[in-house]
């Protein structure tokens, strides 16, 4: 070792070691500080950032509640299918057309659709967009088919390039069956018509989600025990009071009747006379909820309304039993009294088929000399009812409406229920209006109000709230809605019993005599109203028939209305009556031979 080389080697080594130690200490201190900053000072920020990189959420689909008929038939149910799309970032430009073509072909789309989607995807790629949708409502099998093919084209990028998001879609497996009752949802899954709309609160759903962790390659998604997991809240299943077999019969017969009479539209409602439960309700033309969006605007407008609930009509003679029952109940008339007993001085009537109320002529179809009030109802005499109307006067006429629930909503769980109206006190032209309302003009009522009131006439006098939702079910817990909700008692049992007898005579010998069925007794009332179109044209008629069956203990009440029948007779007993009779015949299993030959001829079966 050279003693003259300067510093002592050991001292030199020590100083180098010291320098290295200082440098290392500084380096480790810096590292330590950085670690401290990351782990302690900025811990939360870095943690969130790391979580965001790794974590994702996955929706958990909830099902909207089903709509069932009373016997379990499914009218509406959610099913899951997929919306598919691509992430153009992960697809090279040369492979993009192949992927889009493949997906569109697998979905069975047209060349125009394929071209449009391809341009949209290319546009997205140019603008750096992350998602280009290709189609909705794709089944799981098709999704898997596309996924496999895309993976083959794109290799490992296929997983990130192709996306399929499950989504719940509303389906109506019965198509147009009970369509106007079921209703429909909009694209967002919210009810806009029928039960779908009125029961939205119960049917609606809320999706849940679960937190997942992705691996470094972003391929595998891992469920994290203890991670956020929000359970979906499904809708509640709604069961209606409608019976599927009865509904099928009613729809079939109504459509047949409308075609036979070449009517513009029609409706039918069948109600349990003692509980107010709606057993069948049909409105024609109606719609297929699955195709609701496909109808042209004008067509959709024509089909969408549930005429039983939403439409208002001047009812014509089907209103007469209510005045009659009320007058009977209050002792204003006795059935055996002669109508001529109450002719006031301002009315000129010699017992013939025309009477003059002031200067206004009122006509009956036939002359009925020496007519009693009972006969007036059986033969639907306008003159007699106008005289009864004058006897009642406006206050008591309004009382009739109040007592029978006319011109006010019934409270049924269906949307857009019409209220109804009658001429106000200020517009009431004393003689004219009183005469008009007596045989069903100058007042607008909904068919549902009519059938509810008619049930009260024949069921012992109980006005019931019509019920269409029977029960609501969630996870096996059943909530049954109250049945037989009595909201009024317009007439007594005794009056009701007498009314049943008079209404049976209507079918046996009155305006509905063609409708009698041998061996099966029922009662009813016909109605034929001139439909106003700016004025009464005597061209467009509303043919109606309301009925109850069986006679001894009425189980059901029915109302059928045909708007503007064009073929043959437009009278209610001839146009609408046979439809009700056919429904009764099939409902109560009455043999066809028992239906009188004349009805067969009317029904076009001979």
């Amino acid at each position: 070792m050279n003693a003259h080389s300067g510093a002592h080697p050991a001292a030199m080594h020590r100083s180098r070691l010291c320098a290295a130690a200082v440098l290392l200490t500084i380096a480790f201190a810096a590292l330590g500080w950085r670690l401290f900053a990351i782990q302690v000072i900025d811990h939360r920020r870095w943690l969130e950032s790391a979580k965001a990189m790794r974590r994702s959420t996955e929706p958990i689909l909830a099902y909207r509640g089903d709509i069932h008929l009373a016997d379990g038939v499914i009218l509406a149910r959610d099913i899951v299918d997929y919306e598919i799309g691509i992430d153009p970032k992960f697809i090279p430009p040369d492979k993009l057309p192949r992927v889009v073509t493949l997906a569109c072909d697998a979905m069975g789309k047209s060349p125009e659709y394929r071209r449009e989607r391809l341009f949209a995807a290319l546009d997205k790629k140019e603008r750096g967009g992350a998602y280009a949708p290709l189609g909705r409502g794709v089944s799981e099998a098709v999704v898997e088919e596309i996924r496999t093919a895309v993976n083959r084209i794109l290799g490992s990028d296929g997983v990130r390039g192709f996306r399929a998001e499950p989504q719940a879609r509303r389906t109506y497996p019965r198509g147009p069956f009970a369509g106007s009752i079921t209703g429909v949802t909009d694209a967002a899954g919210q009810g806009i018509e029928g039960i779908e709309c009125s029961m939205e609160e119960w049917l609606s759903r809320k999706n849940g989600f679960r937190e997942l962790v992705r691996d470094a390659a972003q391929k595998t998604k891992i469920y994290q025990v203890g991670g956020v997991h929000v359970a979906p809240v499904g809708g509640q299943d709604v069961y209606l009071t409608i019976d599927s077999r009865t509904q099928a019969i009613v729809e079939e017969e109504l459509e047949r009747g409308i075609r036979r009479k070449r009517a513009e539209s029609g409706l039918f409602v069948l109600m349990d006379a003692h509980t107010g439960d709606i057993l069948a309700m049909a409105s024609y033309p109606s719609y297929d909820p699955d195709r609701f969006a496909d109808y042209p605007e004008a067509e959709r407008k024509k089909r969408r309304a549930n005429r039983v609930v939403e439409n208002l009509y001047e009812p014509g003679s089907v209103i007469k039993p209510f005045y009659f029952a009320y007058a009977l109940e209050k002792g204003i008339i006795r059935p055996e009294d002669l109508v001529s007993r109450i002719v006031p001085p301002e009315v000129k009537w010699d017992g013939g088929s025309t009477a003059f109320f002031g200067r206004r002529p009122v006509t009956d179809v036939h002359e009925h000399p020496g007519m009693t009030f009972e006969e007036a109802l059986v033969h639907s005499s306008n003159i007699a009812m106008a005289l009864l109307g004058l006897q009642l006067g406006r206050p008591r006429i309004v009382e009739v409406y109040d007592a029978f629930g006319l011109c006010r909503p019934t409270g049924i769980r269906l949307p857009a229920e019409a209220r109804g109206k009658y001429t106000s006190q200020s517009e009431w032209r004393n003689l004219y209006s009183t005469v008009s309302v007596s045989f069903g003009y100058e007042l607008m009522v909904s068919p549902l109000q009519l059938v509810t009131a008619f049930a009260a006439v024949v069921n012992g006098g109980y006005l019931l709230e019509p019920r269409i939702v029977d029960r609501i079910v969630r996870d096996g817990v059943v909530e049954t809605l109250p049945s037989r909700k009595i909201i009024g008692r317009p007439i007594s049992e005794a009056t009701s019993m007498r009314m049943r007898g008079f209404l049976k005579r209507v079918v046996e010998e009155g305006t509905a005599r063609y409708l009698a069925i041998k061996g099966f007794e029922f009662g009813g009332k016909t109605g034929t109203a001139d439909m106003a179109r700016g004025g009464y044209t005597k061209k467009d008629y509303l043919a109606s028939f309301e009925a109850f069956a069986p006679f001894e203990n009425p189980r059901v009440v029915a109302l059928c209305m045909l708007e503007k029948p064009r073929e043959g007779s437009y009278y209610g007993g001839v146009a609408a009556g046979p439809i009700v009779v056919e429904v009764f015949r099939r409902l109560f299993h009455v043999n066809e031979e028992m239906v009188l030959t004349k009805l067969n001829r009317l029904a076009g079966r001979e």
Binding site: I60, L61, Y63, D71, G72, V73, I74, R77, I79, V80, E140, P166, T171, P173, R174, F177, R210, L212, V213, D215, T220, K221, I222, Y223, Q224, V225, D243, S244, R245, Q247, A248, I249, E252, E582, R585, R586, H589, N591, E592, R605
Partner: protein, 78 residues
Amino acid sequence: MTAAARGGIVSFWILAAGLAAVGLEVENVRAGARIRDLLLERDARTEKVRRLEMRYNRMVSPDVLEKKLPPEMSSEEG
């Protein structure tokens, strides 16, 4: 016990603890992936059952049966 031996034992335990931690993490990932698969499978089965219910419901509902009633109980068209 020499310092080397003590070092060896400590190293062994550190290694063992590290391996156990990695093993547990792998198991956690596997379990998480399996749980997710099972959840998806459950959803798929629920969907399948709902679709089958719907199909069966279409086939046996009373309005269809009405058309298969004995002749004396059914109408000419049903």
